[in-house]
Amino acid sequence: MAWLMAIGQPLLFILIAPLLTGWIKFVKCRLQNRKAPSLLQPYRDLRKLWVKETILPETASWIFSAAPVIVFAAILLAAAIVPLVAVNLPTARIADVFVMVGFFALARTFLVLAGMDIGTAFGGMGASREMTISSMAEPAMLMVVFTLAMSAQTTNLSLAMQYVLDSGLVLRPSFVFALAALMLVAIAETGRIPIDNPATHLELTMIHEAMILEYSGRSLALMEWASQIKLMLYGVLIANMFFPWHIATDFSLEALAEGLLAIVLKLAALSVLLAFSETLLAKMRIFRVQEFLSFAYLLSVLGMLSHIILEVYYG
């Protein structure tokens, strides 16, 4: 049963991720007094891309064709070790949270390499910016992870969530810092406003879009899907690490249903928060981003230090 869940959860990630993107867009449109597209629009986009012809640039090497598969696989693997509806995930033992950060890095590396493969100006631009941003976001992410792992005494995500769940509602200063840092990192890593604008194709500002500019058809669909899963993954991490309540702890049908409902509601709420921030904020200049990210890094280090100073003691 546990292994069935281990296979089922990533599939659930694959299925729900476009819906989440649709929901964020829906809320954002409503907040901006616009008419919203259907919640199912991302699925339609994917289907449309799926049947379209794929155009490979003349200068593309095998890296370009392999990248969508590798990016998708790496993100899927990351999804496979994050508990979604139920803790007690056996796959979390295979790869712990550091490895998850490694999977993100692997996906990013191939995304960037694919961007540089064609030899257009945009590819290099997006690649350079993505690596700059990630080289500051990833340490912050690792420090958040470090804080959590030190509190829970484990780097196994499933066990760490179990620990937070078991210890009940305790206000830990380190978790507050870590949560804030992780939210900032999530915004940067998933390319949302104010770091990057997923809706823009304005040449000089785009980052993620610049790297995948040459993709079309099915390859593009796979890339887009991977980035939707990544967005959802960060949402689930925030929701289940810091607010794991009502996640299923056994595999009875009621518990699973409760877990599913809980995570859907949590993600919906987080999306509203994201839509609000995206509506209120404008995109930053690229050289302001480092302030944003060093703030995230600072928060994460503060979180870790406050854990060490305030929460660890020897009797």
Partner: protein, 705 residues
């Protein structure tokens, strides 16, 4: 004599033989004479000998033979290492060389055995790569000189690993340093090479002096020169710290620890590429070996303050090393700075181990030490691969500057694929080997909870934060290297016409470390089992848990705390990849076609539109501006007199080491100035010198009486 020690000594002998055989390269007449003397009366053999002595044939044989011997030496070193890791006993003996009463002591234990393994693998790769690579020097330079000093260099490194007394250790150490000086100076017609080799020699000797002084402190309190005597020495904390500081300076200088690293980015690129691979891949590890031997084996006790200092130096080296690497435009120089970074990571782990051991947390200390040793092994593999890859590019295109490269993946597909393995490993991405050692370092740092002192408890994670930053920056750096050199469009004509390596040996030399990067990344457990033995042998700490869950699993502190199974990760990755592949190309696949990429409608994509290496790292240059000694020039040409229409822009930058400007240059200047001042007493007149002698005599008489 035990078998392992026999293999080790044979390995040294082979390296020396390699040196001798290279020396014979330019002395065909002498060889002919000797062979004729030996075979004079056997006419059937004479034919073969005569064939061998044909000038063309001889030259080819003599290009290959020294490398074959080096390869045998490497294979024997690997064998020695494997036998030691599999649990052979340590062995010692006294060689009948050296001063009377001070014979050379040699000893082989698990630690030196492991470093034999670290040395052997790159050595085999280099000996495969070498014969093809040195062909370009054949008519320009003396291969005899190159091969002779390569053999001595390798023999010196192996002797350092075997040395068991201070005297022999220093002889071997100096042999290694001096032989590698000649290798750095090999291309001495270039002024940079001369400058680099002088700086290298200078710093190597200062470092050796520090080590001698450190040994001096130990030997003074011990009863003899051999390591066996030193091990039991009793030192006051003050003297122990003095000895430690001297050792740190000496070994740190050889390892390229900041701020003692200035020689490294000069010397490594100046040497021929296969030598750079040996220097970066192996020689720095010999310094790491020396430091571990010195601080964990010879010094009687460790103190946490030392650990903090080593960690801080390691963290600084790691972060600054990779930041400087990011701004280099010469590929080999970039790789050299990245070696500084990796040495920083290794020293950070060693510092962590010192902190844990000195506070009695021997389990965590052993874990940190294991991470350091494993990273040494991994760095030896991928740095060898990358330097040899840079050598392959240099060999095929005569280009070292990243700014001129591009699109090599289409011209040199095999090299590109092998180089990619190195890139992904050094960027510490799962499931390759660099990730395993980074993961273990993080796991070791997580054990900081066990430390009693709050200051230490917060210091360790701060160092881990630096490590995280380093990891992310090194990913950025090597993605840049690969993206600029191998992807995109070629930035110069000779790159556009580059050809793939045709020499099978050179390709094999790249393939061997690449394969090791992958295999060790996926199945690290056997190696880690061996390392457990090394650490148990060295410190007495038993790491029971780490491989307790079987050959697929790493569980550094128990399965509940953390576990990683690279083998299963790979299996899952392949499964997910297969799913992606089937989705993309198999199920009712739609035809794909090739078309021109989007060029903004300017009509024709050209290489000049691409991001350059300097442009790629520009945001990081701006963000981390204070750490660079940055010089930029921007020249604009305008087409009209008013200056409105810009027709050409030329931007140049140089991001130099701040240490050079603020530490080395002032020291150099003050040394020169004081030399001038001292020089004034040299008047050249005999009367003055007689006066000096007279004064000295008076002074001595006064002292004696």
């Amino acid at each position: 004599m035990p078998m392992t020690l026999f293999f080790a000594l044979l390995s040294v002998l082979m390296a020396l033989l390699s040196a001798v055989s290279s020396w014979a390269y330019s002395r065909r007449a002498l060889v002919e004479y000797l062979l004729n003397r030996i075979f004079a009366f056997d006419s059937s053999r004479l034919v073969k000998v005569a064939l061998f002595l044909e000038p063309d044939y001889y030259a080819r044989a003599m290009r290959i033979v020294p490398f074959c011997l080096l390869g045998v030496s490497g294979a024997l070193a690997v064998l020695t290492g494997l036998l030691q890791l599999l649990g052979a006993d340590s062995a010692a003996m006294i060689l009948p060389f050296g001063l009377p009463g001070l014979s050379w002591h040699v000893r082989l234990d698990a630690l030196s055995g492991f470093f034999f393994l670290v040395l052997g693998m790159p050595l085999i790769a280099v000996s495969l790569f070498g014969p093809g690579y040195v062909r370009e020097f054949e008519h320009k330079k003396s291969l005899a000189v190159l091969g002779f000093f390569t053999g001595l260099f390798v023999a010196g490194m192996e002797m350092v690993l075997l040395a068991d007394d201070t005297f022999f250790f220093m002889i071997a150490w100096e042999l290694m340093s001096v032989a590698s000086y000649f290798l750095v100076a090999f291309q001495h017609e270039q002024p940079e090479s001369r400058r680099a080799s002088f700086l290298y020699l200078l710093m190597a000797e200062i470092g050796a002096l520090c080590i001698i002084l450190g040994f001096g402190v130990l030997v003074t309190f011990a009863e003899g020169f051999s390591f066996g005597h030193i091990r039991g020495v009793a030192l006051t904390p003050l003297w122990a710290s003095v000895a430690f500081a001297l050792g740190l300076a000496g070994f740190g200088m050889k390892a390229g620890l900041m701020p003692l690293h200035a020689w490294l980015p000069e010397a490594h690129p100046a040497a021929p590429s296969h030598i750079s691979a040996l220097m970066s891949g192996v020689m720095l590890k010999i310094a790491v070996y020396g430091f571990i031997r010195y601080s964990f084996d010879l010094l009687p006790q460790v103190y946490w303050q030392w650990g903090v200092i080593v960690m801080a130096l390691g963290a600084v080296s790691a972060v600054l090393g990779i930041l400087y690497a990011l701004q280099q435009q010469q590929l080999k120089r970039l790789l050299a700075y990245s070696s500084v970074e990796n040495i920083g990571i290794i020293f950070l782990s060693i510092g962590l181990a010192l902190v844990f051991f000195s506070t009695g947390q021997s389990q965590s200390g052993a874990l940190a030490l294991l991470a350091a040793l494993l990273h040494s092994f991994n760095h030896a593999q991928f740095k060898t691969l990358l330097f040899l890859g840079a050598g392959a590019i240099l060999h095929q295109t005569h280009e070292t500057s990243l700014e001129k490269m591009g699109g090599l993946i289409r011209r040199m597909p095999k090299t590109a694929a092998l180089f990619l393995a190195g890139t992904l490993s050094i960027a510490s991405l799962p499931p390759l080997n660099g990730f395993v050692s980074e993961w273990l370092t993080f796991q070791a740092a997580l054990q900081a909870n066990q430390l009693q002192s709050g200051v230490l408890r917060s210091f360790v994670p701060t160092a881990a934060a630096m490590l995280a930053l380093t990891g992310a920056l090194s990913a950025a750096c090597f993605v840049k290297v690969y993206g600029i050199a191998f992807l995109g469009l070629p930035r110069s004509p000779h790159i556009a016409h580059a050809r793939e390596l045709t020499d099978r040996g050179m390709l094999a030399g790249l393939a061997l470390p690449a394969a090791l990067c992958i295999v060790v990344g996926i199945f690290p457990v056997p190696l880690i089992d061996g390392l457990r033995r090394v650490i148990e042998n060295l410190t007495g700490a038993v790491l029971a848990n780490i491989t307790a869950a079987g050959w697929l699993w790493l569980t550094p502190a128990g399965a509940e705390t953390a576990s990683y199974s690279p083998g299963l990760v790979l299996a899952a990755f392949l499964a997910a990849g297969a799913l992606g592949y089937v989705l993309l190309y198999r199920i009712r696949a739609v035809e794909s076609r090739r078309a021109e990429p989007w060029d903004c409608g300017y009509g024709g994509l050209n290489a000049g539109m691409q991001y350059t290496s300097g442009a790629f790292s520009m945001p990081i240059r701006r963000i981390f501006d204070p750490v660079y000694d940055l010089r930029e020039t921007l020249n604009q040409e305008t087409g009209d007199s008013a200056g409105w229409r810009v027709t050409a822009i030329r931007y140049q930058f140089q991001a130099d080491d701040k240490f050079v400007r603020f530490l080395y240059t002032p020291i150099g200047r003050s040394v020169t100035q004081s030399a001038y001042r001292l020089g004034r007493i040299q008047t050249g007149s005999i009367r003055t010198y007689l006066a000096y002698s007279f004064a000295t005599l008076l002074f001595l008489l006064w002292v004696v009486s």
